[in-house]
């Protein structure tokens, strides 16, 4: 008998689509600060998914995870980064190597590859919203494309954070029974975020007020 989608499946799928759309929005955002705001929106969606999983699967510790995730990923990290960008007083525009229309079309193709590749594996379980997993796979690939297409280090860092959001969506639907892993993954993702940021500041200090990754080309061969 075919698997009948539950309310949880539908909510998870809708949130996963929202996360993917926010990723596409980042392609469209020509300014780093608008990209950061979209990352904050995406993080709210991921936190909402954690709360939905907590309610549906009766895992109370996931509520705490949802709150921590919302506070840190949706508020603290974007706020710190925006503050830094405004203080650094650098040119925030013209950050993509590729035109928006081309990159969005490529993104659609890449997301479709991820979606159908995972879909074709027919990974099924009565408790798994399969479509959400496939969409998360598409989101991960699109995040890779975003990192490749951007030429400034803050934008690349946001690409990494949004990639982690995609993986987090997949983790929530696949491994909800292991809240300790999810919590620690979140903490260490943020640790990396802080570290990345420290290096950005250091690099900025040395590279004479530029955020362009194109000057990071000394080490070759």
């Amino acid at each position: 008998m075919a698997h009948v989608p539950t309310v949880f499946d539908s909510v998870a799928n809708v949130i996963a689509v929202g996360v993917l759309l926010a990723e596409f929005g980042m392609f469209r955002a020509s300014m780093v600060d608008s990209q950061l705001r979209l990352y904050a929106v995406q993080s709210w969606l991921v936190a909402a998914l954690a709360a939905v999983v907590a309610a549906t699967r009766h895992v109370p510790s996931l509520y705490a995870l949802a709150i921590v995730s919302a506070v840190l990923k949706a508020i603290v990290v974007p706020w710190i980064m925006l503050r830094f960008l405004h203080r650094a007083d650098v040119d925030l525009a013209r950050i993509s190597k590729v035109r928006v229309s081309s990159i969005v079309l490529t993104g659609i193709a890449v997301a479709a590859i991820g979606f159908f590749a995972i879909g074709s594996l027919r990974i099924q379980s009565p408790v798994l919203p399969s479509a959400a997993l496939a969409i998360a796979a598409g989101e991960v690939l699109v995040a890779f494309l975003l990192i490749i297409a951007r030429t400034d280090i803050v934008s690349q860092a946001v690409g990494i954070f949004s990639l982690e959001n995609g993986v987090f969506v997949a983790s929530l639907v696949l491994a909800w029974g292991l809240p300790i892993l999810l919590a620690l993954a979140l903490v260490f993702d943020l640790l990396v975020a802080v570290l990345v940021f420290a290096i950005v500041i250091r690099s900025l200090h040395h590279q004479e007020d530029t955020l362009s990754a194109e000057v990071l080309d000394r080490l070759k061969g």
Binding site: V167, F188, L219
Partner: protein, 488 residues
């Protein structure tokens, strides 16, 4: 015995805290003491693992023969790098106040790095293995950037971006393997390696295959497998020398350890053919690219970094061959590569200190100005090239024998050709800087005895591993190979 496992996790952590607040001498002493204590504790575990097979501490910590091989390599390098760092850092010419801050940060980072690397083989849980490797990324990126140069910042940036992306993929692999386990173990369980290996036969094959490929790709980023290796030459060449040695000799193999745990689970579930094929593809690609890059390299530390990619390729190929003798070979290779690569990096550090450059076109007459580290560096490079009588000759010989035993003639021939190619590149460039006479040479002499002593130890260990490995160690390697090969 369970106390030893707890001590192994506690000692480097305490050393990190003492280094951060103590004087320079306290930081040096406590780091060397922690390194030596970790090595002694690890050696004490050998007879117990030989007798009982495993050592447990609660449900979270577990050491078997496979873990112990990686613990031995890491703790040995920890002790060597701690000794070398004393000479390396005492030479700094910065003002005293800046120097002490730098020294504290360096030793605290080095101890934390060792702590994270030692924790990976000890924890008995796929999620904790992933977290341990994630911590190694955070700490080692800070250590790469610690020298505050443009090159170091660029290398650290590339490392963080690529390693984070790779570890995100590895997290996906972890949650997929967890999901695979839910079919046999229920919705909520701890993903212990032993548990997943035990129920391997009932895991869904498609999910296990996907998880395995993602694990090789994700953890492979940290191992330095092609095509996800691009951070490695930059990080190895820009990091301070003791960190380069730890990165190359220990971090890469600790990440390979994570892949081996997935091999164990995957071959129980889907049989050995699929995991071995995947590893052979990644291994041959790594060996091919590294051999070609080694032939066209002008920077000394980058040359050694590409040699690391070559050796990680050899590990992947040896695991892919799957024969018992090849698996004994890969575990010996882990130990011998750690000793050889650390010794070579230490020698490169002395060359860099003496000549002020890593550009091999500007370095000549190394043997004339470095009476100890010059010859020791040449011996380490010959060992890395697979020359007898060193440990890497024995391990590569065993891996080749394993390939021939499994009737993989074409792959074995490819392995031999590529290793020979890399050998030519490595020895040609390295010996040229040492043997060719130079003009306007810097004054003869070593910067510090602390920088020579670990190199002597490294070459001695390479000789012992090559000529006559101790019987206890040989049994450990065979036990580890048996555990990895066990399919049903």
């Amino acid at each position: 015995m369970s106390m030893i496992l707890a001590a192994l996790l506690l000692i480097p952590f305490v050393a990190a805290i003492v280094s951060l607040i103590g004087s320079r001498r306290a930081a040096e002493t406590v780091t060397v003491a922690a390194g030596v204590a970790s090595l002694v504790l690890t050696v004490l575990l050998m007879p117990v693992v030989d007798r009982r097979g495993t050592v447990h501490a609660g449900v979270w910590l577990r050491v078997d023969a496979i873990s112990l091989v990686f613990l031995l390599a890491t703790s040995f390098l920890y002790a060597m790098a701690a000794l070398y760092a004393i000479g390396y850092l005492r030479d700094a010419s910065a003002p005293e106040e800046d120097t002490i801050r730098h020294v504290r940060r360096f030793y605290a980072g080095m101890n934390l790095f060792a702590w994270a690397m030692l924790s990976v083989p000890i924890v008995n849980d796929l999620a904790l293995v992933w977290i341990g490797i994630e911590i190694t990324t955070v700490v080692s990126a800070l250590l790469i950037a610690v020298e505050d140069t443009d090159g170091a910042a660029e290398a650290a940036w590339k490392y963080v971006v690529l390693a984070s992306a790779g570890l995100s993929i590895a997290l996906l692999a972890t949650v997929l393997m967890y999901f695979a386990g839910t079919t046999a173990l229920g919705g909520s369980y701890e993903p212990r390696v032993t548990l997943l290996v035990a129920v391997g036969g009932s895991l869904p094959p498609t999910v296990v295959k996907l998880s395995f490929v993602l694990a090789v790709l994700g953890f492979g980023t940290k191992v330095g497998l092609v095509p996800v290796h691009t951070w490695l030459p930059d990080a190895h060449s820009e990091a301070p020398t003791p960190v380069s040695a730890l990165l190359s000799g220990s971090l890469l193999t600790v990440s390979f350890y994570a892949i081996l745990r997935y091999v164990q689970i995957a071959q129980r579930s889907i049989g050995p053919t699929y995991p071995r094929t995947v590893l052979l593809i990644f291994g041959i690609a790594s060996l091919l690219l590294a051999a070609l890059y080694v032939l066209d390299q002008r920077n000394l530390k980058r040359l050694l970094a590409y040699s690391s990619i070559e050796h990680m390729g050899i590990l992947a190929i040896g695991t892919g061959f799957g024969a018992t003798i090849a698996l004994v070979g890969i575990f010996l290779h882990v130990l011998a590569h750690a000793a050889a690569k650390a010794t070579a990096f230490f020698g490169a550090g002395s060359v860099l200190h003496k000549f002020g450059t890593q550009d091999m076109r500007s370095i000549r007459g190394g043997l004339d100005v470095l009476p100890w580290s010059g010859p020791l560096f040449v011996l380490a490079v010959l060992a890395l090239g697979g020359m007898p009588p060193f440990g890497l000759f024995r391990s590569e010989f065993q891996i080749v024998t394993g390939g021939l035993a499994g009737d993989r003639f074409a792959l074995t021939a490819t392995l031999v050709v590529l290793v020979t190619l890399a050998f030519f590149g490595l020895t040609l460039f390295s010996t040229r800087i040492m043997v060719s006479p130079g003009r306007d040479l810097p004054p003869r002499g070593e910067a510090s005895g602390w920088m020579v002593a670990p190199m002597v130890l490294g070459v001695a260990v390479l000789l012992v591993l090559g000529v006559h490995p101790p019987a206890d160690l040989q049994r450990l390697l065979e036990l580890a190979a048996g555990e990895l090969r066990s399919v049903r």
